[in-house]
């Protein structure tokens, strides 16, 4: 076994995971190899140094921030799944619902069209009537109602 391979055994020895036979073999090697002995010491040293780093403490607000954010997500998902369930219950009727909406739409369109036609006619008739009113011929309709124009222009009656 090369000295590099012994390093895994040194690690296992420090972890207390070496069986008795392997431990005896390692200790025998450490007795004869200064390099591995130095490694064993340095590995213990790094273990101690790592353990001396103080434990980082969590900011006091963080737990509440996490809870708030996740609850927000839970409620959002819950609202969405309620909506999905509601609309999902119409799934089987979807073609029927679409058909009904289409027929209603067409029906409404036809009715609106019928309603609009007379109102357009009335408005056009009214507007022409209004022109006549402005011309001062209200109540007229026959050619005779325009007689006054000629009468005034000629300065006398017919």
């Amino acid at each position: 076994m090369s000295c590099r391979k012994w390093q895994i055994q040194i690690y296992r020895l420090h972890e207390g995971e070496l069986d008795r036979e392997s431990e005896a073999a390692l200790l025998q090697h450490l007795g004869t190899c200064a390099s591995c002995r130095a490694d064993a010491e340095r590995f213990s040293q790094i273990d101690r140094v790592l353990q001396r780093v103080p434990e980082p403490s969590m900011p006091p607000f963080l737990a509440e921030r996490i809870v708030t954010r996740v609850i927000e997500q839970i409620r959002e998902d819950s609202a969405q799944s309620t909506l999905r369930r509601f609309f999902g219950s119409f799934a089987y009727f979807r073609p029927a619902v679409a058909g009904t909406i289409l027929i209603l739409g067409i029906g409404l369109g036809v009715l609106t069209g019928l309603n609009l036609s007379p109102s357009i006619n009335t408005r056009s008739a009214g507007s022409s009537y209004d022109v006549l009113t402005l011309a001062g011929i209200e109540g007229g309709g026959s050619d005779s109602s325009l007689d006054f124009i000629w009468t005034d222009a000629d300065g006398g009656g017919r």
Partner: protein, 191 residues
């Protein structure tokens, strides 16, 4: 309150299933139990407080989203730290302010920590707060796999077998990672 007290007695496995069903009390108990360890891992992993807070929050969001995928009988701690590790990697990568840490840089030769003043006992040099900070920095500068293994083994007290489960690796690979990490740290800290 009484409901939360009952929840406190429940196992993590039961709580995670309740969380999957949107149970807010289960969430509170899980946050009480695990947020500190998650934060500890992420701050040691990234060295950035703000990023570590975001990681801790994202971990709980992922726990909630993946809760229904938790297989009963699976070790909760292994499952939890798998999510913690993946979230730390994802968020550290996506963060634009990659300060002292960079996952890409980790694959290269780690940055050397400047040696401290000469002292007859090199171990003693690391007792001060500043020295502790340097040790933490040295850990953060390890390649991702070594860093994860060191944090989980020496700070969270997980066994090599548990770490292998989290990293989807073998016990022998984890042991090898830890030995390489120790050698790197010895070099970085000039011990």
């Amino acid at each position: 309150m009484a409901r939360q007290a009952t929840m406190n007695a429940q196992s993590d496995e039961d709580l995670i299933q309740a969380l999957g069903n949107g149970d807010e009390n289960a969430l509170r108990v899980l946050v009480d139990r695990h947020s500190a360890a998650i934060y500890r891992f992420s701050i040691r992993f990234t060295g950035d407080e703000s990023l570590a807070q975001d990681i801790a929050q994202e971990v709980f969001l992922r726990l909630y989203r993946h809760a229904r995928r938790f297989v009963p009988g699976t070790l909760f701690k292994t499952w939890l730290f798998t999510i913690v590790r993946n979230t730390s990697i994802d968020l550290a990568r996506s963060y634009t302010y990659r300060k002292a840490y960079s996952l890409d840089e980790y694959s290269q030769e780690p940055e050397r920590t400047p040696p401290l003043d000469a002292d007859p006992d090199p171990e003693e040099r690391y007792l001060s707060e500043e020295s502790a900070h340097r040790v933490a920095q040295a850990v953060q500068s390890l390649p991702e796999k070594q860093r994860t293994a060191v944090i989980l083994r020496y700070y969270e007290g997980l066994s090599a077998r548990e770490i292998a489960g989290i990293m989807r690796s073998t016990v022998a690979s984890v042991e090898s990672l830890l030995v390489r990490a120790k050698r790197s740290l010895l070099k970085l800290l000039e011990l």
